[in-house]
Amino acid sequence: MDLKEFLTKASLAHGVSGFEFMDVASLVRDAMDGLVDEVKVDLLGNVVGVKYGEGAQPRPKIMLAGHMDEIGLIITKIEEGGFLRFAPVGGVDQRVLPAHEVIVYGRRPLTGVIGVKPPHLTSPEEAKKAYKMEDLFIDVGLPEEEVRELVRVGDVATFKRQVSELMGDRFSGKALDDRAGVAVILVCLEELRKYKVDADVYAVATSQEEIGCRGAVVSTYGIEPDIGIAIDVCHGETPGVPEWRTSSVGKGPALAQGGNIHPKVFAALEKAAKEIGIKAQKEIAPAATGTDAWVMQISRAGVATGLISIPLRYMHTSVETLAISDVEDAGRLLARFIASVDAGFVKELKSWI
């Protein structure tokens, strides 16, 4: 797999939370083909690839979760003149919206612009305030009648954004949160060919993470894993943000630590990184991690969870920026970890003395 090519395709694919089936799910399904023994799509649209292990039954079950959904917009009303009102799906920063190009997925994809008043007609007082989302609208440049034929309340829209290759191996685009996590899983599955693996691996591209980790809730229940590893993004260093609240882009994946993470899973991930010579960073999570790991942990009678994060700048904008090497390293580290898991390790997860 060409990682950069996959990241490009994945970034350009659309899949607003709850609407992953429209595009990104099939991309992920195709990408998993050949890397796993079977691929299924569950009732909430999670794509689940299963790669069976070689250990004696009952084999350890490891679930990997990278979410394939992205934040976006949903049409709430078609106004006179064919202008489209919208609401956010997931945590959309209203300040990035004005004058952004979007694609509305109606009967056919329509390019639109989020319109604003020209500065000439804006008073200085008005200009001091950020636009409120409820005042914004999408202009698809078509007559009202045609808009009503093509667009329906409940249709979704995404940012329109090409990817950018920046200096070094820095890569920028929309929806890298968390298509980068899906990419990590694919790298891991490829890498696993090098190892003898005891465990059954359930590689899940989860749905609806941005609106409450809903895909992970049901897929974890269905899979009933012993161990669950979420692969998501964390904040990369950003001017104006204290250094200790962020991780460094390009300096390796970050391993989360805190109550959401089983200490033995954390230790095994750290060990795996050391064994293959990857420098991993640490992410401190005092309580909620806000990732699929948070819901996986409390599925059924409990799951031992871990969290690997790819440092990423400008989260939830259309120019999310990461280092490709971090994605690659995370995948290799994950594979090494999986190869190290045996029945003994799983048994030890319930021992707390």
């Binding site: 109550g259 640490k282 401190i284 009678a301 409990g302 707390w352």
Partner: protein, 339 residues
């Protein structure tokens, strides 16, 4: 296990090792069988026929976590669980496994601008001083990710009034041990010492899933604001006025039959009780009630002033009332009471 021992143990949510080890040791010495799950809950069991009754007390407590060691040796931290930043300044803490002593300092009053004195210092501007002269020296002792507990001495302020940290919810754990002393014949008693209540009722949720109880009771150290400046109608509970019974909170509405039974038993037996006159807050009952196809629940609490701060107060008479009522209730279940 007594409250002095229980409250002196550390067990910030997600890092309950010390509390859990002591609880396990105690269970073993009492000859009670137990299991641990992957989240670290301890589930003890007594009795093997009759309805499954789950009693829950959480062993975790609110605390802090080190997020960063500064170059000059000061430690930055974040809260674990709900802590009002205004109670943190000028307190003693213990950092990490080694329990390194530290203090939460602040700019001296002499160095403050006039209007600074009226402002709340946000948590991310506070720091812990362990006496390290440099970041390197500090790094040898502590690291980001270490948990921090309050360093508060257990003390009896007057006969029957206890001051300690972590009464929420070691008082519940103490009640569990009281109940476990007795032999139960006609119920299957599951005593759950739960983890991670303070960060979202997480331990109890998975423990209840495993147990699949027929009824559940959360044992809590609960809010009590019988203090100057709070009108009677907003005090929630009063110290020394008996065991507190919840009417509703953000997590659950108690099963009416169970609540009525608790009230009836208290009245019949002359056990002092009060209603928890507030609906804010939530406890593990919320998670237990939502188990599988549903489980009737109630909450039985000991009022504790100043919970979620480094030092809280409780009355041993309220504890005694809770103990009695709990045992009466379980006996009534043995006698055939069902929700």
């Amino acid at each position: 296990m007594d409250l002095k021992t229980l409250t002196s143990l550390s067990g910030v949510s997600g890092n309950e090792y010390e509390a859990r080890s002591a609880i396990i040791k105690q269970l073993e010495s009492m000859g009670i069988s137990y299991e641990c799950d992957v989240m670290g809950n301890v589930i003890a069991k007594k009795g093997d026929r009759g309805p499954k009754v789950l009693l829950d007390a959480h062993m975790d407590e609110v605390g802090l976590m080190i997020t960063h060691v500064e170059k000059n040796g000061f430690l930055r931290f974040a809260p674990v669980g709900g802590i009002d930043p205004r109670v943190l300044v000028s307190k003693r803490v213990l950092v990490g496994k080694e329990k390194i002593p530290g203090v939460i300092g602040a700019k001296a009053i002499h160095l403050q601008e006039r209007d600074e004195r009226t402002q709340v210092i946000p948590i991310d501007r506070l720091f812990i001083d362990i006496g390290a002269e440099s970041g390197e020296q500090a790094q040898g002792k502590v690291k980001a990710g270490d948990y921090v507990v309050f360093d508060t001495e257990y003390q009896e302020l007057s006969p029957g009034i206890i001051k300690a940290k972590a009464l929420d919810d070691r008082v519940g754990c103490a009640l569990l041990f009281e109940v476990l002393k007795q032999d139960w014949k006609e119920i299957q008693l599951y005593a759950v010492f739960a983890v991670q209540e303070e960060v979202g009722l997480r331990g109890a949720r998975v423990a209840a899933f495993a147990v699949e109880p027929d009824m559940g009771i959360a044992l809590e150290g609960t809010v009590c604001a019988d203090i100057p400046g709070t009108d009677k109608e907003f005090q929630a509970t009063r110290l020394g006025k008996g065991v507190a019974l919840s009417i509703m909170d953000r997590g659950s509405i108690p099963d009416r039959k169970m609540l009525n039974q608790l009230v009836k038993l208290a009245e019949d037996e002359g056990i002092p009780y009060q209603f928890r006159e507030a609906t804010s807050g939530g406890n593990d009952a919320g998670a237990i009630q939502q188990t599988k196809a549903g489980c009737p629940v109630a909450s039985v609490s000991v009022p504790c002033r100043y919970i979620h701060t480094p030092c809280s107060l409780m009355s041993t008479s309220d504890f005694e009332a809770a103990r009695k009522l709990l045992i009466k209730f379980l006996e009534s279940v043995e006698g055939g009471f069902r929700p």
